[in-house]
Amino acid sequence: MFAVIYIPNFSLQAVLRGDPAGDAPVAMVDGESSKPLVIEVNSSALAAGVETGLTANQAMARCGNLRLKSRSDPCETSATEILMQVAYHFSANIEATARGTCTLELKGLSLEAETAQRAWGIKILDSLATFQLAGQMGFARTTELALLAAQVAQPILVVQNLTEFISVLPLSVLAPPLAIGNILDLWGIETVGAFIALGRDAVAERLGEEGLELFNSVLTDSARPLKLVTPPEFFTEQIEFENEVETLDPLIVVLRRFLLQLTRRLTVIHLVTGELILEFGLASGEKIQRVFKVPAPTNDVEILCRTLRTYLETLQTTAPIVFLSLAIRATQLQGHQFGLFETTLRNPNQFSETAARLAALCGAGRVGVPVIEPTHKPDSFRIEMPRFDATTPGRKIRWETNQTALRRFRPVVPAVLDFREQKPIFIRSQLLAGNITNTRGPFVSSGQWWNLDRWGREEWDIQTVAGVHLRVFRSTDGDFIEGIYD
């Protein structure tokens, strides 16, 4: 037994997911030909007399408020992904049969009864409806029949009696070649049932190999094996903007909608967002890509949206944005139980956002965890983003209670030191000036003499007549105050 999910007007539905039209009449035109023809219409446009095959002008003449849309590959790719992922959630054996068509095998799903099949189909269609895709489903013993059933289903059709089903099935759903279609039309054959009633030999004799193929597509007894596919655990939503985007607000609106869609898709298959991959296409042809790791994987749209917003608030592009793609790399939900002696972050996502905001405020490299560089050069450190969850409790911490703490001046303050008998006796600087009453030093150090970054200095701890304790040093660049003891 097989089921087919069929999404009528797939290209139009894929585009309208990103731009809901409500009840307004909408038609899709094939933008690649010189004289664009209507290829798909929604129900409102159909009611207004717009049909496929009309030119855009003819369609507009029939319906004044008709909205014309062009096909969008990114939208169709996203819609296909959704279709396959929803189908995969309900059956492990699925096939991407055609654009907007997915075949599912019911083997092992205990869906023999018609009521069970209908209930199962409703669940699938409801899942698709949450992604603004209206589908139809057909159930039959062969894939071909299930597809035919799906095409005429409203919205679910289970084929129990083949003769009864094909007796009312219009011949057009078989999409016969034009020549054969014309002949059958002349013969007055309008349903598949009437066509089958001609008999296999008669069809082969009069209509040749093409006619026989058409006949067999309905009456084949053997089920063809499916070309099984597994949808990737990579979820993308994309949009090509009709108008160039230059401000933040429209981007946020689109991104929020993308996140809603993507997180719903993840929720269906019980996964959460591990990584966000944001990509912009600029009008200049340049592309910008940024990857955001979600510290505590989640499907909370507010948290994910804040992460993107924090980045976008500081983003400056050289040209307007014409394309936007948001992808999610899914991961399993990680449980976390807080301990009595809590050592990890309470809310890692909030912390990540705060760190990003602080970095935007103070500048990158000025926010994070300091790590001392393996060098003797004073004040050498680098800043890293923290991993507070990686630290282990119960460590010994070394601390000299009697050491004098230094407050550093960054950058160091230029000064002029007067020396007598190789000891500083007077200091002048923008901070202070005065006699030096007490000194310790010099403490000589140098390093990296083997490359261009070589350094050397003589350092003193001094006490001025005003009682201020300073650390000063002399290097090849002059005399400086490094900090104040406090």
Partner: protein, 189 residues
């Protein structure tokens, strides 16, 4: 008690649930504190710091030991595996003097001005991931510090009053209006 007073109390209790509207309610529970036991190291260092409130450490003049007290607090916090935020108002913290295990628990924000430091402190207190936040304004010019509106401190106080964060502000002069605890450090030489 007049009807007007009763109505006012009822209105306040409705608008601000949990707020004490009568005198005996305020003394029932003592405010939470973080015991640090530092007075054994220096006589004028505190033994406990208020949680969910502003603590000002006034270090007027030189050689007050404020940098040492800051280091001591960092070490105490790290020994208890706390996540510590330091908003360094003038980028003066000497990280080389600290143990790597302290540094691994330290989230350091190196600011260049007083407004930047206050914004950073605001963000960190809103984050609610830090159990100890230190705001060091000791080396910032007093002329800049005097321009801080009092409302800033009240806002910061409102931010942390519902949390258990210990928030210590190091200042060169009396500055913070909304403080629950104030520690005065004077020159030890």
């Amino acid at each position: 008690m007049s009807d007007a007073s009763i109505q006012l109390r009822a209105l306040l209790a409705e608008k601000f649930p949990g707020m004490a509207t009568q005198l005996h309610e305020t003394s029932a529970v003592s405010p939470p504190v973080w015991p640090v036991q530092l007075s054994s190291l220096a006589a004028n260092w505190p033994n406990e710091l208020a949680k969910g409130a502003l603590t000002e450490v006034v270090c007027a003049g030189v050689n007050t030991g404020s940098a040492g007290l800051m280091q001591a607090l960092l070490v105490c916090g790290a020994r208890e595996n706390q996540i510590i935020g330091v908003v360094d108002g003038s980028d003066s913290l000497d990280v080389a003097q600290l143990d790597p295990n302290v540094l691994s628990r330290l989230f350091w924000v190196r600011c260049r001005s007083v407004p930047e430091a206050l914004k950073a402190a605001d963000l960190m207190l809103r984050d609610n991931n830090f159990s100890l936040v230190l705001l060091d304004l000791k080396l910032n010019p007093q002329s800049h510090l005097r321009k801080i509106p009092a409302t800033i401190w009240y806002r910061l106080q409102r931010l942390i009053e519902k949390t258990s964060t210990v928030f210590v502000i190091f200042t060169p002069c009396l500055l913070v209006k909304a403080t629950r605890q104030r520690v005065m450090l004077s020159s030890f030489i």
